[in-house]
Symmetry: C2
Subunit: 168 residues, 2 copies
DNA sequence: ATCATTGCAAAAGATTTGCAAGGTC
DNA sequence: GACCTTGCAAATCTTTTGCAATGAT
């Protein structure tokens, strides 16, 4: 929902997501199907966070020639993750996906009021994790950092309504 | 699973978890029941990470006078979280609980091989989060940082078996 | 033609809920 | 006695799976 231009500019990679995915398919003897095309386009049209349901809402409905069933959506999202195109994490029990391929490392602020995810880059974090890992002899593959709280807009909105109540 | 003594020593608080929970109940007109007692004891007997199923395994079975049903386990865990006694986070889609009341802030390494959670304290992290929050006008309530990878033991085990294979 | 892929229906796993019966204050 | 809690059964929600039909190479 909130990938601003400055961040997006840094997203430059050799092969496009489409090319990359086709390589992935070929290398595994998998096939290029209409469903995979439809999903590839829809997923990489906008670089937002989304869950399976949000994606399905944007897809053609049952009956349409480009309809994709729910199981196939889940299967294909898994393939995108496998291919290194998407990253998956969990928020409140459900899976959330976001663009990953060639996109800079970042973490998220999660507003418990409006449920929005806001990206941020924390410079010192990598260094800290390296040290922790070394101290524990731990081989890091990945990490998830989600900071819960209230975003600026929601905080202001709350303050406004609180003032309104005070006046009564 | 892995709370060592040095960390546990720091766990000192004014009121005991039991006292604290009873205050919580009273302040809300809730009642002290046998089930809540049983769970309170079992949960705070050992300070490990656990999910609902692991807790239920340790409880008396159906038929026993101290049996607690699954829905009540879930309901009561929620109350413990509400009362500030437990902290809840998600690992691989299921809820994991841990002691929180008076326990020092920490985060977790998660071994994808043995599924163990290893606690760590990262000194600079708070500072980093404060800065990020300030930059975004974000009111932080909490955070979850889980570092995925392979723990020392599992890494060694893998290396051993790899050598064994090489020899063939 | 071969074998991967899909959609359907159904299953699965974790957690939640409606409600009548029972327990606490 | 009032009303909070519980256990049961069933529902929910999200994701996964078996399988026969369909599609890609």
């Amino acid at each position: 929902m909130d990938r601003d231009e400055t961040t997006l500019e840094r997203y430059k990679t050799a092969a496009s997501p489409e090319e990359r995915f086709h390589e992935y398919l070929q290398s595994r003897g998998m096939r290029s199907t209409r469903q995979r095309q439809v999903l590839l386009e829809q997923v990489f049209a906008q670089h937002d966070h989304f869950d399976a349901d949000q994606l399905i809402e944007k897809l053609p409905r049952r009956g349409d020639a480009d309809y994709v069933s729910r199981p196939t959506v889940y299967r294909t999202l898994g393939e995108f993750v496998d291919a290194g195109l998407l990253k998956k994490f969990e928020v409140d029990g459900r899976g959330v996906y976001e663009f990953d391929y060639g996109y800079p490392e970042h973490d998220h602020l999660h507003c418990s009021d409006c449920d929005r995810l806001i990206e941020f880059q924390a410079d010192g974090l990598e260094q800290i994790l390296r040290e922790v890992a070394e101290r524990h002899g731990f081989r890091v593959k990945d990490h998830t950092l989600i900071v819960d709280g209230v975003c600026e807009e929601c905080f202001r909105a709350k303050r406004r309504s609180r003032r309104r109540l005070d006046r009564i």
